[in-house]
């Protein structure tokens, strides 16, 4: 176990360095933050720009800047935003819970919906419930998420005025963003649950369970579902990573005060410290999800447990 954890920590350090290095380097190729900051301030001389660069530490070499960022990281200091000087950790501290809440809500909704539907489709394979579920999942898959988001806002907020169109205030504000993300996730997950379930239902131990006289529900939800869980957990874990990426679009449409919005604004403003901070936090989250997935394997399947 100690070896395992050590391995994981080394892996995490490597991933964070690789990702932040690429992002920090690439963002510096796209434009000069000093020019962005000076915009609209009337007449600016090259000397003024140099003074701004010096104040932000941009006159140093890329390597020196990057090492400075890593130093700060070790002591938990992400630096300050170029825009207004707020500590990056404060900005992330405010945005992270919003994003996590939305991501977990979407994933939760999708799992809770897709498992029973996928199982239903598998047991009624080829008959009408299966066909219906498959057609609906195909429709769900075909929606681009920004379009779905805008349609929901137009319909539910503007036309019927049922839900708040944007922001994060209370439960009702979660419904539309979580549904947008959830519908697309569910469409894929239903198909995945159906396929793994069909495989599992062919197993001999399912016939044995039926031969014991167990009810259909027990056979499906006790004996079959747990055997499907390894591929499902793997996929849900991967999906969570994709979810964090996809959330940027949805956060923009609903003006959700999360990491996606923060990252989007940081890119537009060439706000290096904020962007580096957000990317670091996101990679750490994906690494921890992977760790959780590995731990979950051992919990659901005794064959994976070591020692």
């Amino acid at each position: 176990m100690a070896k395992f954890l050590l391995y994981r920590v080394l892996q995490a350090i490597f991933v964070v360095i690789a990702v932040t290095l690429i992002v920090s380097f690439a963002i510096r190729l796209t434009g000069d933050p000093a020019v962005m900051l000076a915009q609209g301030a009337g007449s600016i001389t090259e000397a003024d720009l140099n003074r701004i660069r010096e104040a932000l530490g941009l006159n140093q070499s890329f390597l020196a800047q990057y090492i400075g960022f890593l130093r700060g990281l070790v002591v938990g200091d992400f630096g300050r935003s170029f825009m207004g000087g707020t500590p990056v950790s404060d900005l992330i501290g405010r945005a992270l819970p919003a994003t996590l809440a939305l991501a977990f809500a979407s994933l939760f909704v999708s799992i809770v919906v897709s498992i029973p539907l996928g199982i239903k489709a598998a047991v009624s394979r080829g008959r009408w419930p299966d066909q219906m579920i498959r057609v609906f999942s195909l429709i769900g898959l075909s929606f681009p998420n920004f379009w779905l988001a805008i349609m929901l806002v137009l319909l539910l907020s503007i036309t019927f005025n049922l839900l708040p169109p944007s922001g994060m205030e209370g439960f009702s504000s979660f419904i539309m963003p979580a549904a947008t993300m959830g519908i697309i996730l569910t469409a894929t997950n239903v198909r995945l649950v159906r396929t793994t379930m069909l495989d599992t239902l062919r197993s001999q131990y399912i016939m044995v369970a039926r031969a014991k006289g167990l009810s259909n529900t027990v056979v499906l939800y006790k004996h079959a579902l747990r055997n499907c869980s390894i591929p499902l957990i793997t996929y849900f874990g991967l999906q969570f990573g994709g979810l964090l990426g996809g959330i940027v679009v949805v956060e923009r449409v609903f003006n959700w005060p999360g990491l996606g919005t923060l990252a989007f604004e940081a890119v537009s403003a060439r706000d290096y410290p904020v962007l580096q901070g957000v990317i670091t936090v996101l990679s750490l989250m994906i690494i921890s999800i992977n760790l959780l997935v590995d731990i979950a394997y051992g919990l659901v399947d005794p064959r994976v447990r070591k020692e």
């Binding site: 070896k3 395992f4 391995y7 197993s203 001999q204 131990y205 016939m207 044995v208 369970a209 039926r210 031969a211 014991k212 006289g213 167990l214 009810s215 004996h223 747990r226 055997n227 659901v300 399947d301 005794p302 064959r303």
Partner: protein
């Protein structure tokens, strides 16, 4: 015999869509008695077992006609299972009628403990609490002679051997003391010694509990040992039914006669020095024909250079564990094995799972690197061979595998597959010459030349194995390694393939390395036999010496475990103890090498060294 049957099946028909797989089947089974249903693949015997449990519905099949009458006791109370609702049927399944399945490795749910899976039935049907169910589960595990029952409850299926799992399966089936037990090929996937254990346990428990048993099998040996009444099925229909002695002594239906003629019987070659090619009994329409004659297979040329000489062969596999991949254990698959094969000779390697018999075959064919030892072909060591000579070896040694379904490329015509070795080794040039050779090979193995353009899925299992043989013959080999090449085939097909292999040996002077777990088949076709246990040869000698005067305790145990297809030879067996040992050892814990001692001319047996207990 009680006059009321426990279960009577009347005019049962089962359909898969419009395809009728069981037709108008009737039979009965009485309390304390066993009715065996025998048949080859596609006979509908497994579907029948699932129909009795009303589980066919979960396979998209349906019972279209007939009734299955379940008599709860001797006075009246009769239920027609085909008429029950699924809810009512669930109360009977697992309680009054229980079932054991074929594959013990896949019959238990891998993610739940043995305890969870046994107690589940007890809590469901017998209103046990968790605690009382666990106590009962311990009793059940003891009933199937499993030691250390308490600890077993907490273990998971993957931690048990196949034989132990099948006993757990039996314990689970017997949990509610069912009136009827349906056993679908319960020992087919097991090694013979384990099969013998399971059969003994089943018979003892049947007597103890007075169950009616429906025993489904393809193995006539098992039928002879277990059955009281026998139902022979073919293409979904019952062709014959009689008491077991009657079926074996005076089979009435031609199909039964052909089936019984095809079954290799252990001990049938007693006193003969050489293998014997028996005439084939074939069924044409409803009449049996006998083809070929009985002749001694005197093909071995023992005075020339051997085809293969294997000397002190060792093959081990490392097992790496942990993230940094240190070697912690090794599989000692082959340990210090030596033997020779002469032209025209069949050497059989027999042994149970983990005995290393397949690894030896793969090592000889250069599919697997050996750890140490020498393999010589035609007098020359493989290690000293040039690349071209090694390539030539690949041509001269051919392999036939167990699964004829998996060993042909499904997207290529069989003609292409047969031509491949001819092209690879450049044996013939020009498509016309190759085409002629393919036609000739197909006819040689009993197929017709016009089948060359067809694809593997258009052939039956037996035909596919013939194609594999044709492919092996294509490169004019000197040695054919047949690795369990007959194990997946029905007995009648098996007999035909044995016949073909012996005919080819006679005509082409082929040498065979015949790898098998089936003692009866080995007895029928080999000149010499090597018995393997945990990667080492424990006994080596002529077939007659090994079978008639077995010397080593393990050979005797193996022979005694084989069920004999003759009910008059039914023995009261003592329960064979012990499980199959594992060839996996810790690094540094080297196995002791056995010393072979000559016990008679050409007959060697290992001495049972002190502290090295092979048989417990």
């Amino acid at each position: 015999m009680t006059t009321t049957p426990a279960l009577s099946v009347r005019s049962l028909s089962v359909n898969f869509g419009s395809n009728r797989v069981v037709k108008n089947l009737s039979f009965e089974v009485y309390p304390g008695k066993t009715t065996a249903i025998v048949g080859e693949s596609g006979s509908g015997k497994s579907v029948t077992s699932l129909a009795i449990m009303r589980l066919v519905e979960y396979m998209n099949a349906e019972i279209t006609e007939g009734s299955i009458l379940f008599h709860r006791d001797a006075h009246g109370d009769v239920q027609d299972l085909t008429q029950l609702s699924d809810k009512a049927m669930r109360k009977i399944r697992g309680k009054d009628i229980a079932m054991i399945f074929q594959e013990p490795m896949t019959s238990l749910n891998p993610v739940y403990t043995i305890g969870d899976q046994i107690t589940e039935v007890l809590v469901l049907h017998e209103k046990h609490t968790q605690a009382s169910a666990r106590a009962e589960a311990v009793k059940l595990l003891k009933l199937v002679r499993l030691a250390d029952a308490e600890a077993l409850l907490k273990r998971y299926p993957h931690q048990l051997s196949g034989g132990m799992r099948q006993r757990v399966m039996i314990a689970m089936a017997l949990a509610c003391r069912p009136k009827v037990l349906v056993a679908d090929e319960p020992t087919t996937a097991l090694d013979v010694t384990i099969q013998a254990q399971i059969l003994t346990i089943m018979r003892d428990l049947q007597q103890e509990l007075g169950m009616a048993v429906i025993f489904i099998t393809h193995d006539m040996g098992v039928v002879a040992e277990m059955a009281d009444q026998v139902v022979v099925m073919r293409h979904g229909e019952k062709v014959e039914e009689a008491a077991v002695e009657e079926i074996f002594a005076r089979p009435q239906h031609p199909y039964t006669q052909a089936l019984l003629a095809a079954v290799p019987k252990l001990g049938s070659m007693q006193g003969e020095d050489l293998p014997r090619m028996e005439p084939l009994v074939e069924l044409k329409g409803d009449i049996t024909h006998t083809r070929g004659e009985s002749r001694r297979q005197d093909t071995a040329k023992l005075d020339v250079t051997p085809v293969v000489e294997v000397e002190n062969l060792v093959t081990r596999f490392d097992i790496r564990k942990g993230f940094f991949g240190g070697i912690s254990h090794r599989v000692h698959a082959v340990e210090n094995v030596s033997f020779t094969i002469f032209p025209g000779e069949t050497l059989a390697l027999v042994g149970e799972s983990g005995s290393g018999k397949s690894t030896i075959g793969r090592t000889i064919q250069q599919l697997q690197e050996s750890t140490s030892g020498t393999v010589r072909f035609g007098g020359k060591a493989v290690a000293d061979m040039s690349r071209a000579e090694k390539m030539r070896l690949r041509q001269e040694i051919q392999y036939i595998f167990q699964d004829p379904f998996a060993s042909l490329d499904p997207r290529k015509t069989v003609g292409f597959s047969i031509a491949e070795p001819i092209r690879t080794h450049g044996l013939l040039h020009g498509s016309k010459a190759i085409r002629q050779r393919i036609d000739q090979l197909l006819e040689r193995v009993g197929l017709s030349a016009d089948q060359a353009e067809r694809y593997p899925h258009e052939f039956s299992g037996g035909q596919r194995q013939r194609i594999c043989i044709a492919r092996a013959l294509a490169s004019k080999p000197k040695l054919i390694i047949a690795d369990e090449a007959l194990s997946a085939l029905d007995v009648s097909i098996q007999a035909q393939i044995i016949h073909l292999l012996m005919e080819l040996q006679q005509d082409e002077g082929l040498a065979y390395l015949f790898i098998s777990h089936d003692m009866a088949v080995v007895e029928k076709m080999s000149h010499r036999v090597a018995v393997l246990h945990l990667g080492q040869v424990v006994e080596l000698g002529s077939r007659r010496a090994v079978f008639d005067t077995p010397h080593h305790a393990y050979t005797r145990k193996l022979l005694s475990a084989v069920p004999v297809a003759d009910p008059s030879q039914r023995r009261e067996r003592v329960l064979l103890q012990g499980d199959i040992l594992s060839p996996i050892r810790k690094v540094g814990d080297e196995p002791e090498h056995l010393l072979l001692k000559q016990v008679a001319e050409g007959h060697f047996a290992a001495q049972e060294a002190s502290g090295h207990r092979l048989v417990s």
